[in-house]
């Protein structure tokens, strides 16, 4: 479970890192993608490969719509307006999906029939092992993209200082747009694998995806990819423990309490030392 959260958090952190704005519509964009995937499955009995591509594509298109309407069109310095606007679009997406898919729940194709396997004395679902593997591969690919290509360099430059990047000839608008789509696509992959293990989808998934991704990102430290992974894994472990000892309701309570406690005690998250230091430096400069 934790690796799914980690993937969600990576997408979130990518958007936040580049834009310094919060995209509340992140989860709902993924939801749109997941519903598109399930539509392909129900209508055309598409195989897992097509469903995955459809999910990612749907999420990316929804993400592009959100970026144009809520972030590109709204002036710089109006971060709150962007956030509220992305929330408004969230409601749009959720109701749009509810109208297009009027039943409460839909079936989502499972990856396949897997047996439980024994691993070091624990019984583990194979889907979770596959998810962990996919997460690892994606993180590696993302790392290569961010640190080995010109596009990655541009993304990091915009993240560091958008104005300086602009003066250096980086087309910031385009970089932000592409990073946004990339993040939504990663979210789509995460959404696909989470759904393939749960096998049932509802429009509420948008809310869950935003929350879980947000919590995992904040636990790890905003704008940090390793932090997002650590936060996602931590969240997964804590939720499972709480569910095991106290019941299903306490799973979410534990997640939010953990987040609240973390924000009070260590607002920078697990692995965000350098951003905390940077904020401090910015404060001193004033």
């Amino acid at each position: 479970m934790g690796s799914g959260y980690a993937l969600l958090a990576i997408g979130f952190t990518l958007i936040f890192g580049v834009l310094r704005r919060l995209n509340l519509s992140y989860g709902p964009s993924i939801m749109v993608g997941v519903f598109f995937g399930t539509f392909l499955f129900i209508q055309f009995q598409a195989g897992w490969y097509t469903v995955l591509v459809g999910t990612v594509l749907g999420a990316a298109i929804a993400g592009a719509y959100v970026e144009r309407l809520c972030f590109w069109a709204i002036k710089k310095g109006a971060a709150v307006a962007s956030m509220v606007s992305s929330f408004a679009v969230w409601m749009q997406l959720e109701e749009g999906v509810t109208i297009a898919f009027p039943d409460r729940t839909y079936e989502f194709p499972a990856l396949g029939d897997f047996e439980l396997i024994e691993l070091a004395g624990l019984s583990v679902r194979q889907e979770h092992v596959i998810m962990l593997g996919i997460a690892a591969i994606l993180v590696f690919a993302l790392h290569q993209l961010l640190y080995r290509t010109r596009f990655g360099l541009a993304v990091r430059a915009v993240s560091e200082d958008p104005n300086a990047a602009l003066f250096m000839g980086v087309n910031t608008g385009r970089v932000i747009f592409l990073a946004f789509i990339l993040a939504s696509a990663i979210g789509g992959i995460a959404g696909y694998f989470i759904m393939a293990t749960e096998e049932v989808i509802t429009p509420k998934f948008g809310l869950q995806a935003t929350f879980k991704g947000l919590i995992a990102m904040m636990l790890g430290g905003m704008g940090s990819v390793p932090g997002a992974i650590a936060g996602g894994l931590l969240l997964g472990v804590v939720e499972k423990q709480a569910e095991w000892y106290a019941g299903a309701v306490w799973r979410d309570i534990a997640a939010f309490m953990l987040l609240f406690a973390f924000l009070i005690v260590r607002p920078g998250g697990l692995l965000a030392q350098h951003t905390a230091a940077r904020d401090l430096a910015a404060l001193r400069r004033v």
Binding site: L22, L24, L69, C70, A73, I74, K75, A78, A79, V80, A81, S82, M83, V84, S85, F87, A88, V89, W90, M91, Q92, E94, E95, G96, I99, L207, F211, L214, I215, M218, M222, G247, V249, W250, D252, I253, F256, M257, L259, F260, L263, I264, P267, V286
Partner: protein, 307 residues
Amino acid sequence: MDDHVITVLNNIGGFSFIALSAYLLLLSGEISFGQQAFFGIGAYASGMFTAMFGLSFWIALPLAMLVAGLAAAAVGALTLRLRGLYFAIATLAFAETIRLILVATTWQVDVDGEPVGPNGSEGLGNIRWGFDNEYAPVDFLWMIYGSLGIVLLLFFLMERSRLGSIVRTIGADRLLAETQGINVTRYKILVAGLAGALAAIGGAFYAHIQTTVYPENFDVMLGVHSLAYGLIGGLGTAVGPILGVLLDVGFLEAVEWIQGYRMIAFGGLVAVLLIFMPRGILDERRVHLLRLMLRGRRPDIHGAAGH
């Protein structure tokens, strides 16, 4: 007036309190996603006081405000170090924790042979004070708008007072406020507490009109809506958030052909509006222009349009 109109008006009034609550925090420079927690605490506390312990609404209301205000001040004190987004997420985490704890809590007492009290996701029912004392929806209408009038009056007085300028100064620039010798810590906690109590008024009315409240009534949707009301209506005056509520609950609820597509219409409206007016319809500049026009002076176009 027919019942539907009264219900809509009561809803507008009730949600105006939480919109004003979010607006007050926005003035002090904080974005809260968690005001629904204090709306919910106000609803549950006042409902428990009247339904479980037989208190009058007029005693339960200030008590509920006190409970919610103290809780909000405590959250404000805990989150003092956090700014911007971190504050928003912390308040969201708090509100969701409260909501889920309400889902997990059952505590009922016997009233006239019936169990009354919070019952997990079944909610808190049997809040019959209005029914027992023969209060019709119209009577609640007067109560709500009377209270709203008092709150608005207090807001206008505050905007003209030292407190108002202190709050706006903190909102504009915290460091500046500190160098002016303002005790920012104390005012932040004060504003958080006041905002919590304000949201609780709306919650108390809501509970006694609905007679049953559920934890899911106070989910994040309510919180972000209340924030959106201020941003649509405008951050220049306390009338702004109420205008936002009017637009959402009043306009979209009233226009029937939008039914079923309400969120799509409202979402699109908000998104487009915020592109052209990032600080809402009644932002500081337009409020200033309106004031000048009301006083019969020609607005100074150059100064006002210079932004």
